[in-house]
Symmetry: C2
Subunit: 194 residues, 2 copies
């Protein structure tokens, strides 16, 4: 017997359909607002199949968050080779790309975190993992750029990233790309025209 799909939970058309449907619904309407029945109906899947792959709703939510994290990393991986400083600017430009998408509703991680009060919850831990990864990514780029205080600057850039994701959703500022650039340049100390 070949060591085939012993591991349930990987590669299955039904499972993918469930996760895709849930991803769209969770992001568009919020986690608590979307019920299992709706997901299985729109995914065209039997209830038993759902509970086979996701023993509880929270496991689906965790898979949703991890999927968003994977997707976010993939977007950043796609950025072409360039200087550390330009990489930072390109990463922040992704906020504008996301905000230009039709159903944009802010940051999936921040939205989900708002619905999970308990910091030790698996969903929150998945969110923390992503945030930690992103902070480390920025830190590395700042060090490569010769930043004098990379730790502090990474924190400030994280603040800016979160704030830009919020503002691009709730305030829809005109000329978001300019706002993003202005924010990053001021934080990096490259523009003191305040």
């Amino acid at each position: 017997m070949v060591d085939h799909a012993t591991d349930i939970g990987r590669e299955s058309a039904a499972r993918n359909r469930i996760l895709d449907t849930a991803t769209n619904l969770f992001y568009a309407e919020g986690v608590h607002a979307v019920g299992i029945d709706r997901i299985i109906a729109e995914a065209g899947v039997a209830k038993a199949t759902f509970y086979k792959y996701f023993p509880a709703k929270d496991e689906l939510v965790r898979a949703y968050i991890q999927g968003q994290s994977r997707q976010g990393r993939a977007m950043i991986d796609k950025i072409s080779e360039r200087s550390a400083r330009d990489s930072i600017l390109a990463i922040f430009d992704l906020v504008a790309d996301a905000a230009a998408q039709p159903g944009y509703r802010g940051c999936p991680f921040l939205n989900a975190a708002a619905e999970y009060p308990e910091p030790s919850h698996p969903v929150r831990q998945a969110i923390d993992e992503h945030r930690q990864w992103k902070r480390d990514l920025l830190l590395g780029l700042l060090e490569a750029d010769g930043c004098l205080d990379p730790e502090t600057t990474a924190d400030v850039l994280t603040v800016a990233n979160d704030g830009l994701l919020v503002a691009s959703h709730l305030d829809k500022p005109a000329n978001l790309r300019r706002l993003i650039r202005e924010t990053v340049l001021r934080i990096l100390g490259l523009s003191a025209d305040a």
Copy 2:
């Protein structure tokens, strides 16, 4: 007959108890996660009384948001007279004060907005109102401070405010006050030590 309490919805011990209880629960656990039954039980109020003052749950949520807005404005009103620039710094310091509170769980407006996808919903409108007020407040202070581009700077400060509220909750950075100061000074172009 004196023109007494014709207007239902103002000043009532029961109503206050409902709103106070709901405020604590909504902030601590999220809006969708808290049911009417729980609120009336913890407020020690009859169901009929609840529906007398709040014809639907969403009206209670709107009242909760408006109460948080009122409270936020009161905090800022309490800041003593000082220069425009110092006022901005003092306003941002309020983030650290809030984060130091026992049950801190981030910004009530951002958390609630995450649970209301529809921008035209009354709850979202109440949130927008508060955000607009705050942005105008910062804009006025920047103008008084002689800022060269107050509009842009107000946008960037709004970004920073949101980001700091998020980070202080999800990341719990060591030395939050220093991070706040660093963020604001860099945005105002008063510190280029990146």
